[in-house]
Symmetry: C2
Subunit: 462 residues, 2 copies
C-alpha cells in the first residue's frame, strides 16, 4: 500500500481514537465528512426490488451497498422533477418549447455544456454535448486519424474497453490499413496487471514517427488505473502524435485539466460518475487550437452556426470548433437528466470530492489488505484477494478491482444476496467503486464485513 | 384539386346534409370519425403558456389549433408515466435495471423495434433504434456509398433538408470527390414547386451508370410531396444504384412498405409524427438481402452479438444486418418515450389513419381553394394562397404548404396570436399539418375561419 496514504489513514484513526478495523472509525469519518449530505441527493436501490438480493439475509446486511457507480451512477432525487418539467413543457407548449420553457430545446445542449466543461477543465466552447460515446469517438477519429504510409498507427492498450477496440479496428480498416500492422496495443509487463507508463513513453519515443493517434482510457475500466494524461500528451505531441482520451471512467471521478494538458480530443459518457441514467447523452472535447484547422469529416445541420441554421439555405456555415461536429438536434430528456446531476457537482468541487475519494478508496484498500492478504496479521480466510488497481492514489480513481484466489461465482452471488452491487468479470475479478458523492465510510465497512462473512463461511463450511 | 377527392368531399357533405363551408360539416365529420378518441391521448399546448399567443383574442379562437406535427408531434398523455417508470426503475434498481424492470435497459431498443418495424413495413430484424437521424444517415452512407471514378454520384433534390444536404456534401468530400461534380440535385420544373417524378426517372435512365446512391426524403419537408418510393427504387436498382430514404416526414404519416419495395436503406427521426419528444431516438432500416455483404464501416460494442457482448474479449462478432450498425448503448428515457407513442399506433393501423388523413387534408385544401383562390366564388380577401403541395392524395402526406401573395410576417404573427401553431418559412410560406391521430375536422374549420378573419381584417383595414 502507498506509504503516505497508509500513514494518513492510520494517523486519522489514532486521532479519532478508533481502531481502523472498527465500525466506530467509519462512523466517525462519516460524521466529519463535509460532503456527507450529498448522499441524500440520490436514490439508493431497494434490496426488495433486486431479484439477486431477495434471499435470506442477516440483520447486519439489510441496507444495500452500492458500489457500481463505475457502471451506472445512482439516480439523483431531482432528476425526475427536471425530466418531468421538460415533459410538461412539451405538453404545455408543443413545438413552442423549442424557444421557450425551462430548457429551450433548440439550445438544450447549451444549457449543460458550461457545467460540463468545468468538470473536465475545458473552456465552454471546447465541449459539445451530443450522441453516444462510441459515436463521438468515431466522429473525432474520422477527422483526427489521417493515416499516411509512414504514419498510420493507433496506439491503445491491450485491454482497451471493447467498444474502443472495435472503434480503432474499424477506423483503421476504413482507411485501408490493417489492424494487425496499424494497431499498437501496449501490454502490462508480464505478471503485472496495470500498465507501466514508462512503457507507453518508451513506445512513443521509439515508434512515435509511425503513430498517428493515441487513444487511451483516462482511467482504465478494468483495473481502475489512472493515466498521467499530461505526461503522455506532452511526450506524444513532441513526436507529432494526436492524443485522445476516452474519459468514461475518469470524468466526475478525478479532476481533469484537458485544456491545460493540451489534450487534442476527448469523449466521455455521462451515465457512470455523472449519473445521467442508462444511455445518457455523451460529450466531446476538442482543444480550441484545432478550431481553424480540424473540421468535422461528417457534417449535419446541428453543426451549422445556430443564428442562421434555420434559414435552411443549404449553405454550410460551420460553428467554430467542437460545436461544428454536432450533427443532430439534442434530446431534451437526456439534457434534463444530465442537468440534474451537474447541478449537484456544481455545489462542490472535484478537488473536494477527490480528497474524500482518496481516503474512501484508501480505507477500502487498507481493510482488504488487512483481512485478505496472506501475509497480513488480520488474514483469516482461505481466499486471498489481490488488488489489480495501482496502490498510488495519483495512479487511480475511486475504483478497486479485486482478484480472488478461489472461484468467484459463489462469492459474487452471496455478495448480491447480501445486497452488495458490484461488477463481476469472470473468472475471478470484481470491480467496486466507492463514490465520493454518495458512498460513505460505513458503506466500505459494511462491504468488507459482508465479504469477511462470506469468505469465513466458505472457509468453515467449504 | 384532385377530382376524385373533391367529389368524395362534396358527396360526403351532401350525404351529411351540411354545406362544406359550415361548421356543422366539420362537427358531423368528427362525430362519425372512428379515430376521434385518439385525440384524448395527447396533451394540447395551452394558449396561456405560449408567449406568441398571449395577446388579445376573440372568443371564437380561444382553443389552440396545433398544426405543427410535422415539426414536433404532441406529447402522449402516457409518456410521463412510462418515462417516470423508467426513472423509478433506475431509482429502485440502480445498475440491476440493465437486466430487470419494465425495460431491461440492456435491451431497451429491442423493446420498441418490433412496433417500429410494423410502421415502416419492415421485418423486425431489419430495423434498429439508435442515435439521431443525421448520425444514422452518415453511418449508412459510409457503408453504402462506395464511389468509383465512373460511379461516384449521389442523387438528391435541390431542396433537400439542410442536414441531408450537408450529409451528402461531406460524404462526397470524405471520399475525395467534389460535390460540384458528384452531387446531382433534381430541381422542380421552372415555375413549379414539387418535383416531377418523371424527371427523377429520366435522370436515373440517362445518368444512372454514374450514380452510386440516391438519397431522397420519402415526404419532402418543404412541399409535403410524397415520392413514389417503390417506382424510384425499382428504376434505380435496374441501374445498379443503391436507394436510401430519409423518412423523417413520412413515417407515421403514410403507410410504408420498405421491405416489399426493396428499399436498400432508410433512416428516420421519431419526434414528428411519432411523438417521441424533441431530439427523440432515431431509427434505421436496412433490407435483409444486404446482411451478408454490407458491413458497418464504423463499429462499436453495441453491434456485437448481444449474447457474448459482455464477455469483453475484444473479438468482434457482429450482429447480423442493421443491428450490427449499433454503436452505443441506447437511452432508456428515449426508448420509454418512444414506446408510449408506438403503443398508440399499435391500437390502430396506418391504413385506417391514412383514410382519415386523406379526408382531413382534402377538406383543408378544399376550404383554402374555396376562400383564397382568386378564381373561386368564395374569394373575399386580397391575398391569394397558392398550395405548394401536390393535389393528388397519393402524392402527399397530411401536410399542406401555403404560399401567400402578401407579406407573411404579419399573418404569421396574427395566426400565433389566435393560437394557431404552424411553421413559417420566409418569405411567404407556412406549413401546416392536420394529423390523423390528434387533429379534427373542427381544427381545420377553425384554422380556416381564423385565417379568413385575419385576411379579411387586413383587406378592410390595410
Ligand atoms: C427531412 C429531415 N431530415 C433530417 C432532419 C434532421 O434531423 P436530426 O436533427 O434529427 O438529425 C430533419 C429534422 O427536422 C428533417 O426534417
Ligand atoms: C471506457 C468505455 N468506453 C466506451 C464505452 C462505451 O460506451 P457507449 O455504449 O456509451 O458508447 C464504455 C461503456 O461502459 C466504457 O466504459
Amino acid at each position: 500500500m502507498d506509504v503516505e496514504l497508509k500513514s494518513r489513514l492510520e494517523g486519522k484513526a489514532k486521532c479519532l481514537g478508533h481502531d481502523l478495523t472498527s465500525q466506530e472509525f467509519a462512523l466517525a469519518m462519516d460524521a466529519e465528512d463535509p460532503l456527507r449530505s450529498f448522499r441524500n441527493l440520490f436514490h439508493f436501490p431497494k434490496r426488495i426490488n433486486i431479484p439477486e438480493a431477495n434471499g435470506d439475509v442477516t440483520e447486519s446486511s439489510r441496507d444495500p451497498v452500492y458500489f457500481s457507480g463505475m457502471s451506472l451512477g445512482l439516480c439523483p432525487t431531482t432528476t425526475k422533477d427536471l425530466v418531468c418539467s421538460s415533459l410538461d413543457d412539451w405538453a404545455n407548449l408543443g413545438v413552442h418549447g423549442h424557444t421557450t420553457g425551462i430548457f429551450p430545446w433548440a439550445e438544450a445542449d447549451l444549457c449543460v455544456d458550461e457545467q460540463m466543461a468545468a468538470l473536465v477543465g475545458a473552456k465552454r466552447e471546447e465541449v459539445a454535448v451530443m450522441n453516444g460515446l462510441s459515436v463521438n469517438l468515431h466522429l473525432f477519429l474520422l477527422s483526427f486519424y489521417q493515416p499516411t504510409p509512414s504514419r498510420h498507427k493507433i496506439l491503445c492498450e491491450s485491454r482497451a474497453f471493447p467498444s474502443d477496440y472495435y472503434i480503432i479496428e474499424s477506423q483503421i480498416q476504413h482507411r485501408g490499413f490493417q489492424p494487425a500492422t496499424s494497431m499498437i496495443c501496449v501490454q502490462p509487463k508480464s505478471g503485472e496487471e496495470w500498465i507501466d507508463e514508462g512503457e507507453i513513453l518508451r513506445v512513443i519515443e521509439e515508434e512515435g514517427e509511425s503513430i498517428a493517434v493515441i487513444l487511451l482510457g483516462g482511467v482504465q475500466y478494468y483495473t481502475g488505473q489512472l493515466f498521467d494524461m499530461a505526461a503522455i500528451t506532452a511526450a506524444a505531441q513532441r513526436k507529432g502524435i494526436i492524443v485522445g482520451f476516452d474519459l468514461a471512467h475518469a470524468v466526475g471521478n478525478v479532476p481533469l485539466h484537458l485544456h491545460d494538458w493540451n489534450v487534442d480530443f476527448a469523449c466521455w459518457c455521462t451515465y457512470k460518475y455523472l449519473n445521467s441514467g442508462a444511455g445518457g447523452i455523451a460529450c466531446a472535447y476538442m482543444h480550441e487550437r484545432h478550431n481553424a484547422t480540424v473540421k468535422p469529416a461528417l457534417q449535419g445541420w446541428w453543426g451549422h452556426k445556430s443564428e442562421t441554421r434555420f434559414d435552411m439555405d443549404n449553405e454550410m456555415d460551420l460553428e467554430e470548433g467542437v460545436r461544428g461536429f454536432r450533427l443532430t438536434n439534442p434530446s431534451i430528456l437526456m439534457c434534463a437528466s444530465l442537468k440534474a446531476s451537474l447541478n449537484i457537482y456544481h455545489q462542490t468541487s472535484l478537488e473536494e470530492l477527490r480528497n474524500k475519494s482518496i481516503m474512501l478508496t484508501g480505507y477500502l484498500e487498507w481493510l482488504i489488505r488487512h483481512y485478505f492478504s496472506s501475509n497480513s496479521p488480520g488474514f483469516s480466510s482461505q481466499s486471498t484477494i489481490r488488488i489489480l488497481t495501482p496502490p498510488q492514489p495519483e495512479r487511480r480513481g475511486c475504483q478497486l478491482s479485486l482478484c480472488f484466489s478461489i472461484p468467484l461465482s459463489d462469492i459474487y452471488e452471496k455478495l448480491s444476496l447480501a445486497g452488495v452491487s458490484c461488477d463481476k468479470r469472470e473468472p475471478s475479478v470484481i470491480r467496486i467503486a466507492p463514490v465520493h458523492l454518495y458512498n460513505s465510510f460505513e458503506d466500505v465497512y459494511k462491504f468488507v464485513e459482508i465479504l469477511r462473512g462470506i469468505l469465513y463461511h466458505m472457509t468453515v463450511f467449504g
